[in-house]
């Protein structure tokens, strides 16, 4: 103990001594006052003792250090464009010098870009934000692959040959979740089949996942949840960002983001993506490619405008072309298309988008603003699968005007506005061999051309006492030209029981017009006859819009254990459909039967999640999710097929001090009900339930300084695949052929590597 106290005295003494030795130095910081009267550093200012040659310049933080010189006490501080300052230094050791800008030059002072505070996300709604750090845990490749570590979102293949993935929330198929891009219509309409693969991962800045009903501001469509994607923005992006990726099947991707601040008020970002799957690969020898060959070119150019006086604007355009070809190996479209030579398919997509946002922040009233969102989309989809030809063309225009302000104090906020949606579809389904059964009449060609025009009004009131309680109450009324008045009320409550405990409730209705063919393309990749039955009218596909109530409860508890923090989240959601266009695969294995719900259709979802920091820089996430999704079919109430009732995962993320990152995820998927195949000959019958299985992914990332990072990973580490993902792969033109009975991975262990380069 004695030694200890000696050190205690000795060290401060040494510090004081060393300090007096350095007292001959003068330290200073050079600043200017910005428009708001706040000090900002001036880098590169010249500092010199008058009448001597001893000088220095200020660093990027405005700080300089200069030795005292005998015989002079006058310090000259100068900077181009600013009035020089001469100071008399007596016994100071630290000074601050404020330079004043030369009046003539003041006007050309470049003001830096600051992130826009345009749309704030309603805090009362339970939203999980996934940042780049989270997204980098799985480096590949687009939005469909971003949810590996998010227990609320499942991603599944629609069939065994097109490589199309769809998300599921609360056990409900993809389009029940509204996917918006920067709070504007994103993945909907014809894009709902392939669309999540058209958003490259390196374009994404963050993803906000809301379970249950969202805000009414963005429309009536979210039933199971809302996923909002924020893309890279000019005002906060690196100057240059390059990402390259390749895997052992030669899937290759290149992404280039480039940002330029072209003037004081304008800035622009280019987002470019090119990807290809050049080679045919059939690892399970069933004569079908494991995934299609093809390529995608995808480009965005976006601009932001900020006059620094409250007016903010955005403009953007996007062009996308995507081709996919697959089926049996050596399928050659020129000879084999629409023949029984070989089974094949092609999906060709062309998409153009343009959007704009205009916002005005009332001067001196930070809570009062008005915003206009506009977007226009043209989407062309041209595809065939065997003898099923599906062609569709969508032209869509969307406008949303939002006014927000407060009532008296900021305890009471509101948003209100009007919206308009125009959606025109030219869509046809052709099968020259097996006619489509439309309400009992058999037709080789069916067209579903329609034009939807939907004006709407909405209002949302937000109460927040900035303590324990907040509430959001909203409603919207839309008039749909085909389906009449749609009323969508939604409420959210949040109660902070303690500083570490919060409780949230949400109740609301969601409505959407299902794009039945686009959302179920897996059915087209089979010999099933397409049947439309129990029609509810003659509009669109013959069904009224899907409509459901959603109830949710969420409890989040932060805790500290062994000095490390963690969180436990438990939630339960119940979705009850008032109407639904249902796909029935169980009636007979020969049909894919769409019918209007006449009975119950519901989903229960329960989720439990623990996040904890096991050690410094070593994070653990464990989650378990239970689903019970059932629908009344003509043959009785059945569990929805191909949805795992149980899913659990453990994600471990470790980062070393010198920026090596290790990620490991193991998932367990419970058994899934497989639609009834008992009518098939024994060789093509499937069990009633799939087995449960594990999936493992791992990745290593190394960051070098702040410019480069490289990563190496493996998907499906334990190499689990379906033995026979395709029913009757050997007889693709028989009545038994079916690729949609997929409940797990089709390709095995896959290695990948890539890099990221960023220039600030």
């Amino acid at each position: 103990m004695r030694n200890y106290s000696i050190i205690r005295v000795a060290i401060p003494l040494a510090v004081i001594l060393s300090f007096t030795v350095h007292a001959q130095k003068l330290m200073g910081v050079v600043v200017e006052k910005n428009a708001n009267g706040v000090d900002e550093p001036l880098a590169g200012a010249n500092i010199i003792w008058m009448g001597s040659s001893v000088g220095t310049t200020s660093g990027s933080n405005g700080v300089f250090m200069i030795d005292r010189v005998e015989g002079t006490s006058k310090l000259v501080v100068s900077y181009v464009g600013y009035k020089s300052d001469t100071l008399t230094i007596t016994n100071q050791t630290r000074i601050k010098v404020t330079l004043v800008s030369d009046e003539y030059l003041q006007e050309v002072t470049v003001v830096g870009w600051r992130p826009s505070s345009g749309i704030d996300h309603a805090r009362g709604i339970n939203t999980v934000i996934m940042t780049e750090k989270e997204l980098f845990k799985a480096a590949c490749c687009n939005l469909s692959e971003s949810f590996e570590t998010n227990p609320s979102v499942d991603v599944a293949f629609t069939d065994a040959i097109t490589g199309t993935r769809q998300i599921q929330m609360l056990g409900l198929s993809g389009p029940n979740t509204m996917i918006s891009i920067e709070n504007m219509p994103g993945v909907r309409g014809l894009a709902s089949s392939q669309g999540i693969q058209f958003i490259p991962g390196s374009w994404i800045n963050s993803i906000q996942v809301t379970k249950g009903v969202g805000s009414v501001i963005n429309g009536y469509e979210s039933i199971a949840g809302q996923i909002n994607v924020e893309m890279k923005k000019p005002e906060e992006s690196e100057r240059l960002y390059i990402n390259g990726y390749v895997n052992n099947a030669a899937r290759s991707e290149l992404n280039i983001n480039y940002t330029a601040h072209t003037s004081e008020k304008w800035a622009t970002t280019f987002l470019l993506h090119g990807s290809t799957r050049p080679f045919e690969m059939d690892s399970n020898d069933d004569s079908f490619l494991d995934f299609p060959t093809g390529s995608q070119l995808n480009a965005v150019n976006r601009w932001v405008y900020n006059n620094n006086k409250g007016l903010l604007g955005q403009l953007g355009v996007k062009v996308l072309t995507d081709t996919k070809q697959g089926g049996q190996t050596d399928f050659n479209p020129e000879q084999d298309k629409l023949t029984t030579n070989r089974y094949g398919f092609e999906i060709n997509t062309l998409r153009y988008e343009a959007w704009g946002k205009l916002g005005y922040q009332f001067t001196g009233k930070p809570h009062k603003s008005i915003g206009l969102q506009l977007s226009a989309v043209r989407h062309e989809h041209d595809s065939y699968y065997g003898f099923n030809e599906h062609r569709a063309d969508e032209k869509s225009v969307y406008a949303n005007l939002i006014y927000q302000s407060i009532i008296g104090t900021t305890n009471h906020k509101f948003k209100t506005g009007i919206s308009f949606l125009y959606d025109d579809f030219q869509e046809s389904l052709i099968n020259s061999i097996l006619p489509i059964n439309y309400n009992g009449s058999f037709q080789n060609t069916l067209s579903f051309d329609r034009t939807e025009v939907v004006p709407g009004i909405f209002a949302e009131y937000n109460y927040d006492n900035f303590g324990k309680f907040s509430a959001i109450v909203g409603a919207r009324v839309d008039y749909h030209n085909l389906f009449g008045t749609l009323f969508t009320p939604r409420v959210h409550f949040k109660y902070n029981a303690t500083e570490t405990t919060s409780l949230r409730l949400s109740v609301g209705r969601g409505i959407r017009v299902a794009n039945i063919l686009t959302e179920n393309t897996g059915m087209l990749v089979s010999s099933r006859q397409i049947v439309f039955a129990d029609l509810q009218g003659n509009k669109a596909y013959g069904f009224r819009p899907d409509q459901a109530w959603n109830f949710g409860i969420n409890i989040a508890q932060d805790f500290t254990l062994d000095y490390r923090s963690g969180a436990i989240t438990v939630d339960y959601f119940f979705t009850d459909f008032e109407n639904q266009a249902v796909l029935d695969l169980d009636n007979t294995a020969r049909e894919a039967r769409f019918f209007g719900l006449n009975g119950k259709s519901f989903s229960h979802s329960f989720q439990f999640q623990v996040d904890y920091e096991l050690m410094r820089r070593f994070d653990l996430r464990m989650a378990y999710r239970w689903l019970n999704v059932q629908t009344d079919y003509t043959e009785g109430r059945l569990v929805r097929p191909l949805i795992p009732e149980h899913r659990a995962f453990v994600n471990l993320a470790y980062e070393t001090k010198n920026k090596w990152k290790f990620d490991y995820t193991v998932q367990w998927m419970g058994r899934q009900r497989i639609p009834d195949t008992s009518q098939n000959i024994p060789a093509y019958q499937l069990p009633s339930y799939s087995p449960d299985y594990f999936l493992m992914n791992a990745q290593i990332t190394k960051d070098f300084k702040d410019k480069w990072s490289v990563y190496l990973g493996v998907e499906n580490l334990n190499n689990f695949t379906l033995d026979n993902p395709i029913v009757a792969a050997d007889l693709p033109f028989s009545q038994y052929f079916d690729t949609a009975m997929v409940w797990g991975p089709i390709f095995g262990r896959m290695f990948y590597a890539g890099f990221r380069y960023r220039l600030k």
Partner: protein, 119 residues
């Protein structure tokens, strides 16, 4: 069921990891000077060090709460680690040369104003 058991094992395994790190530790509160969130990051990253279990710095109170194992590290060493990245503590002062490299928003020392202005 077999797989459920495996999951259960994973969970138990994780709990075991929680439990094993119950070494003898002490908690100390140290005054550390700084301003902002960047300072907080820097200070806490500097204390990502063997023997230190956790370190949390509060920009308002300037209090650093540090939990460490005295068998592995001394409190003096903790002061030195903080000073080495440019932040003064109530015992150890950071070197001027290191302090001068801090970002502008982190310049926490008082800078006497101007001196005498000759203009």
């Amino acid at each position: 069921m077999k797989t459920n058991i495996i999951i259960l094992f994973l969970l138990i395994g994780s709990v075991a990891v929680f439990a094993q790190s119950k070494a003898k530790v002490v908690t100390a509160t140290i005054k550390v000077y700084g301003n902002c969130g960047m300072c907080k990051e820097r200070i806490e990253a500097a204390l990502d060090y063997k023997g230190i279990k956790t370190a949390k710095w509060d920009a308002k109170t300037k209090n650093l709460m540090v939990v460490y194992s005295p068998a592995k590290i001394t409190e003096q060493k903790i002061h030195e680690l903080v000073a080495a990245v440019g932040h003064d503590t109530d015992k150890v002062k950071a070197k001027d040369t290191i302090y001068a490299d801090l970002p502008f928003c982190c310049l926490y020392r008082d800078h006497d104003h101007e001196g005498m202005d000759d203009n």
